[in-house]
Symmetry: C2
Subunit: 196 residues, 2 copies
DNA sequence: GTCTATAGAATGATAGAC
DNA sequence: GTCTATCATTCTATAGAC
């Protein structure tokens, strides 16, 4: 299975059904309240079990946070590898950009949490497999010239994709319109031709 | 004083010196750890006083959060009014955009917290004066045509400005370069001429 | 894998002295 | 404006039974 392989590459262990369900519910609560405002009790309540049952699946909160982050990042692993196999760097950027936007739009709630929650941001910068993955991702999107100008553009792009999908202004906009408009606007950032 | 007037327009009360110091310290901790991960104890420790002293200044945590948010938003009030007094809407967008980016770059830590922290986001959407202000701000930036396309663009712009300044990728980039590059890239969003 | 029960620390918040 | 002291509640985490 692709996602199992992907997980392995981020250092993730294989998960039981109960664990997977816990991770999904935890991610929803993280997105709504923020990571540190989400307690084991809240997760247990949402699952309909007791705190102790959740602790049986993830021994510490940090372990749970790593698992959830890894689950979300692994959704991009396949897209990354597909892009990296392209010969033309510009084509690689194009493929990856479209995938990243697809994922962001399809998981509107999760995207902003992954990018902005202080706890997740810390985990991302301290957990080595995550660091390497994010570097690969940015490397493909930014291409060769890592000038300050390109870096600022990439930062704006990453943030704009992840944050926009959760923004109140677009809450009423349907998925397809959002996807199309974001892709078009985002292409400007990476110097790809646009429709406008 | 301009900032006192501005505060008043957002519904803010006048603050004592001790209160102002508490708000500044609180904002720093909010930015580092997130709002809900920041306790009165942490704020008291950073100030070198006891919890009770902080409670004397702000009776509840919610009151403190509102005060801090109001303090940050009020920094944009003058810029908003200056922009609104412009005859030409395009010129108004131009002036406001430059001010917003200036403020974001000058308060790198605060910007992302204001836009993304779940607790602040909730406060922003539930506290009426904040709602009205944000609507005015977006209204000036978006101009007349509030089409889905324009809305997506505006959301991406708002997010990109607020989030970029705090992004790890630009941590090593000096303020002036960041300001210049962001402004240039951001102008594309609002259909203003760019240098590129 | 789930439960009850509990330990120990930290939380938001208050009362009253100085 | 700051302090000590305290309250009820919640938190992360563990032990042991089913």
């Amino acid at each position: 299975m692709a996602s199992a392989e992907s997980s392995a590459k981020l250092g993730g262990a294989s998960r039981s059904v109960a664990q997977a369900r816990t991770m999904r519910v935890a991610m929803e609560l993280f997105a709504e309240h923020g990571v540190s405002a989400t307690s084991y009790q809240m997760i247990a309540d949402a699952l309909g079990v007791t705190k102790a049952a959740v602790y049986h699946q993830f021994k510490t909160k940090n372990e749970l946070i790593i698992a959830v982050t890894e689950m979300e990042l692994s959704k991009l692993v396949d897209a990354m590898e597909e892009a990296e196999s392209e010969q033309d760097p510009e084509r690689a950027r194009e493929v990856l950009l479209a995938s990243v936007i697809d994922h962001a739009v399809d998981h509107r709630e999760a995207a902003a949490t992954l990018l902005f929650d202080p706890v997740i941001v810390r985990a991302l910068s301290e957990h080595e497999p995550f660091q390497r993955f994010v570097e690969r991702l940015y490397g493909t999107l930014i291409g060769e010239g890592a000038t300050p100008k390109a870096q600022v553009r990439l930062a704006m792009l990453a943030i704009a994709i992840g944050g926009t999908v959760a923004h109140p202004l677009v809450a009423g906009i349907d998925t397809e319109t959002l996807r199309t408009q974001m892709l078009d606007t985002a292409r400007k950032f990476v110097d790809l031709p646009t429709d406008t």
